[in-house]
Amino acid sequence: MSASSHSASPQAGQRPNSYRSGPDARGRFGLYGGQFVAETLMPLVHELETAWAEAKADPEFHAELQRHLATYVGRPSPLYYAERLTEHLRGEARKAGGDGGAKIYLKREELNHTGSHKVNNVLGQILLARRMGKQRIIAETGAGQHGVATATLCARFGLECIVYMGAVDVERQMPNVFRMRMLGATVVPVESGSRTLKDAMNEAMRDWVTNVDSTFYCIGTVAGMHPYPAMVRDFQSIIGSETREQMLAAEGRLPDSLIACIGGGSNAMGLFHPFLDDPEVTIYGVEAAGHGISSGQHAASIAGGRPGVLHGNRTYLLMDADGQITEAHSISAGLDYPGIGPEHAWLHDMGRVNYLSATDDEALAAFQLLTRLEGIIPALEPAHALARVIELAPQKPQDHLMVVSLSGRGDKDVPQVADILGPNLDGNRGGAQA
């Protein structure tokens, strides 16, 4: 059985000269990636490949991108030394009899316009759509951060915007739905399948296949058919490029480790990619373990999935024995996807990136810790990365420089967290007087 032999040791012993040269001409990162889409879309996908290759080589495109990143998005985002978090975790190390505790920096993507890293990619794709003469933009969204970023840029450039969002997510992320509508977007609740992010992506592809001439599909993560995984990574790599310069300026050397949360994995890929060929930099990706990997209720495609084909690419997927896609679970709607970007799948097989996971409860604890110690309310997504920081940092020496991608701010999550912790932070849900 080919699939089981793939998942046993898909690409053992194939070490590349560079970890930064992918994808190949077929859009593959080793076994992963590709162009698994219906014929109706293939000519459009090739049109996009060509347009992206031309834009990428055009200095004017980059100049325009840089101008908007600086004046509209608010880049560069700060690299912030989290002094109290660092001291707290050094205290934890001492309690355990150690003398470690890494120096923790936060890459402040939550300070971007619209509140997350998503805008970096959306800006790039919208400028590309304008270049291609497309007036109608479609997008899928889970937590709503990508949808909000897309609706924002469409308002800024006067483009029609349609956002597909699972009906379940529409209910649990109502503030973002309202934001998108205020920005002039049409939000379409998706009632098919499991009514979450994967179904929103199916529905966006159904729209694209129907409206082929007018429409640009703005994918929100490093997944989908080639060229999206590479293109989105390229737009997000500004996170890692800035981090490199900022760390050299602050400390005179590269960081020792990087850590980021992963749903599809765009903030992680953006942070990691500029460092992949620096072997002294250890890299950690953190998937959402939901109620725990062994519970079966999680969104950890690498820890709990195996290679398959969905949404245009081959990658690690959550599925049953018959190849039917199963539902992901996470406290964070933004990580609630049964797949992962194909470049992550490859980096996992190559052993270049260490993929870990954090449960709902661990993320919730980290969410509260950062809020109290640093006055920064993180989104529940990067709270998963922070959960592993709490564990890893005390094990590292004090001169270890650790960078965490703070990919989004937690304002959107406040109602949900209040519902879980109780309005008085006493653990009583929804004001129940138990």
């Binding site: 001409a25 000519p43 199916n202 159904r206 084909v309 039917q324």
Partner: protein, 296 residues
């Protein structure tokens, strides 16, 4: 486009293992042509609404006038399908349908019918997970004649298309309104059995095609291939079937309308009723008369 053509040309080596005898697909289209009519190609999802009802309906289709039978392999995430076929797939999955049981359904059909071509249609992941070589061997043994896998364009031919041709199964490609003359040879390179022309840009069971444009598209495709060309997506009733047959198509595919007959006759719990079987089979009969009227 040239890079794509080069890639595909490299993949398009002659498949030495292909059976050279007349296949069931070839024979059936030749017979329809001899009768001066288009073939009726019916689509239903395997195991919808349950295995036995599904088998009973599919087994009754040839007598009702179906010439070629497409059987959908259920998948949780059918990106190219509209609401009707999405729902059919979920009904089948909830009733316990699997890839193994879909092949079992074909095997049971073949016990009684050795002539009607069977085409399995679906998405790649359940086949990939089953294991490509094992799937092709089991499908061939069950009596499958061809495959249509929506998310495998020519760019991915080495995944399943070329192994299928090696195993003696036709790999039937979709051509669409976006497939221009430059790309058509790429799409046709490793196609066998027939060409499935998707008459609209869109999903199954949605808009009704512009029959004038369909006629022009068929003529265009026929300039590139001698294979039969069938037309599907948006064909809902006998009138549509007749109109498509009149465009010069070698076959007419009807899926969502048949699937909707199942949906409309289920009980409150989603189970088949006494009306289900006949509702589907009678529509197949109407469609067969429509196809025959198309060139009368």
């Amino acid at each position: 486009m040239s890079a794509v053509e080069a890639k595909t040309a490299a993949a398009a080596q002659p498949a030495s293992g292909v059976a050279t005898g007349v296949t069931r697909i070839d024979a059936r289209f030749a017979a329809c042509k001899a009768e001066g009519r288009a073939a009726l190609v019916t689509f239903l999802t395997a195991g919808d609404p349950d295995f036995e009802t599904s088998l009973g309906i599919i087994a009754a289709l040839p007598a009702a006038g179906a010439d070629v039978i497409e059987i959908g392999m259920p998948f949780t995430d059918p990106m190219a399908d509209g609401p009707s076929i999405q729902a059919a797939g979920l009904r089948a999955l909830h009733a316990g349908q699997t890839q193994v049981r879909t092949l079992e359904l074909v095997r049971r059909f073949r016990e009684r019918d050795q002539a009607t071509p069977i085409i399995l249609m679906g998405y790649y992941n359940p086949i990939y997970v089953y294991g490509v070589e094992r799937f092709l061997a089991d499908a061939k043994a069950a009596g499958v004649d061809g495959l249509i896998v929506v998310d495998l364009p020519p760019e991915e031919d080495d995944e399943l298309c070329l192994p299928a041709l090696q195993a003696g199964l036709a790999f039937i490609r979709l051509a669409t309104p976006t497939t221009d003359d430059a790309r058509l040879p790429v799409v046709l390179a490793n196609t066998a059995g027939f060409v499935y022309y998707v008459s609209i840009t869109g999903i199954t069971g949605s808009a009704t095609p512009d029959f004038g444009q369909v006629g022009a598209a068929i003529a265009r495709i026929k300039r590139h291939t001698s294979l039969p060309v069938v037309v599907g997506f948006g064909v809902k009733n006998a009138g549509h079937a007749a109109a498509v047959a009149a465009t010069g198509a070698d076959g007419v595919v009807v899926g969502s309308a048949l699937v909707d007959r199942i949906r409309d006759t289920l009980d409150g719990a989603g189970k088949a009723t006494a009306a289900t079987h006949d509702a589907v089979v009678s529509l197949a009969g109407e469609l067969a008369r429509g196809v025959r009227a198309g060139r009368a």
